[in-house]
Symmetry: C2
């Protein structure tokens, strides 16, 4: 069990403990990607991270908490929507970022693990937080567009699902590459559809 | 190796061989759903199907062919789009059918297996055929709508991806139930968006 002092130093950025924790999380991502959430072993995490097994157990006595913290590391990558002032371009860029990210073996495997483990409360929490991070970024960008009168008031999470759903489908199937033309067509149809179906207030 | 006579009788519906084959395929679906494409064993298929192991090997000497034929069994379920004369209603029903199907543990596991196995040519072929079955059903229904002037000429596969992508995302995440209101909103936005962005000829 970790003492309060351990916990404090563990959170101090740049410290040795922080470095060990980062190594353990990176190793966990890699192993979950390879073997799934149920498949990876603490021994392997320690070996890959180059730390002693007790470091893994001491920092994460709970296996699911380790998985969740490892998964949440990649939230930042997916959570950003730029504001260039042009909504269409920013959403197209957002879709291209998602497509690129989904093409990475690690992220793809994590996606699969998340889908495969509906039953785990910890993983469900992680998935919720990942989606909330993305949804918050979408919301900020969409709110700006609404403020500027580019878009009527809209359910931003459905907007997010409508533009990112087809990207996931196309990339996850692996049947054809996802192109910028796809992203543009999707964003154009969804934005035009929302403008045409949302009542003006 | 199967003789020509065997192959012929195997395809005669209602025959004993056909029954054995159907049992083997059903058992394969169940085991692939549980253990993944790489995980299931011929011994287990035979045991679950209540047949001798040699029946499995004789009918499907190639493991991937067995998986593919088992996967393709569920194409029919997903490949139908009704024609009630009202395009919106038919597409909404189509999305509800997909959502219901994706909620089944077997289909969900098969989806995961398909996504996880981009590298297998046989599985890729099966996935292509499944999608082509669905796309063909969409195309027939959309062609009718275009003929009737309900819709401008449209890339029906992108239309299919745009309406079914969000369903997959929502159901596969398992974060919230997919409702008929979701299906209606998605179909309304996509149809309105296509009408607004497709040049009239």
């Amino acid at each position: 069990m970790a003492s309060t002092a351990d916990r404090t130093s563990a959170r101090r950025p740049g410290g040795r403990t922080a470095r060990v924790r980062a190594q353990i999380l990176a190793a966990t991502v890699e192993l979950v990607a390879r073997d799934g959430i149920a498949g990876f072993r603490y021994e392997e995490v320690a070996e890959l991270a180059g730390v002693h097994k007790t470091s893994v157990y001491r920092n994460w006595p709970d296996r699911e908490e380790l998985v969740v913290e490892a998964l949440l590391q990649y939230v930042d990558d997916l959570g950003a929507v730029a504001d260039t002032g042009e909504l269409r371009r920013d959403l197209v860029d957002f879709l291209m970022t998602i497509a690129e990210s989904l093409g990475k073996p690690t992220v793809r495997a994590l996606e699969l693990a998340t889908q495969a483990t509906h039953d785990s409360p910890a993983v469900r929490r992680a998935a919720t937080r990942i989606l909330e991070g993305r949804a918050a970024a979408m919301r900020r960008r969409v709110d700006l567009a609404i403020d500027r009168g580019e878009l009527p008031p809209v359910d931003y999470s459905l907007l997010g699902e409508m533009i990112s759903g087809p990207v996931h489908l196309i990339v996850n199937r692996g049947l054809r590459p996802f192109t910028r033309a796809d992203a543009e067509r999707i964003v154009d149809v969804v934005l035009a559809g929302i403008r045409a179906t949302t009542p003006h207030t």
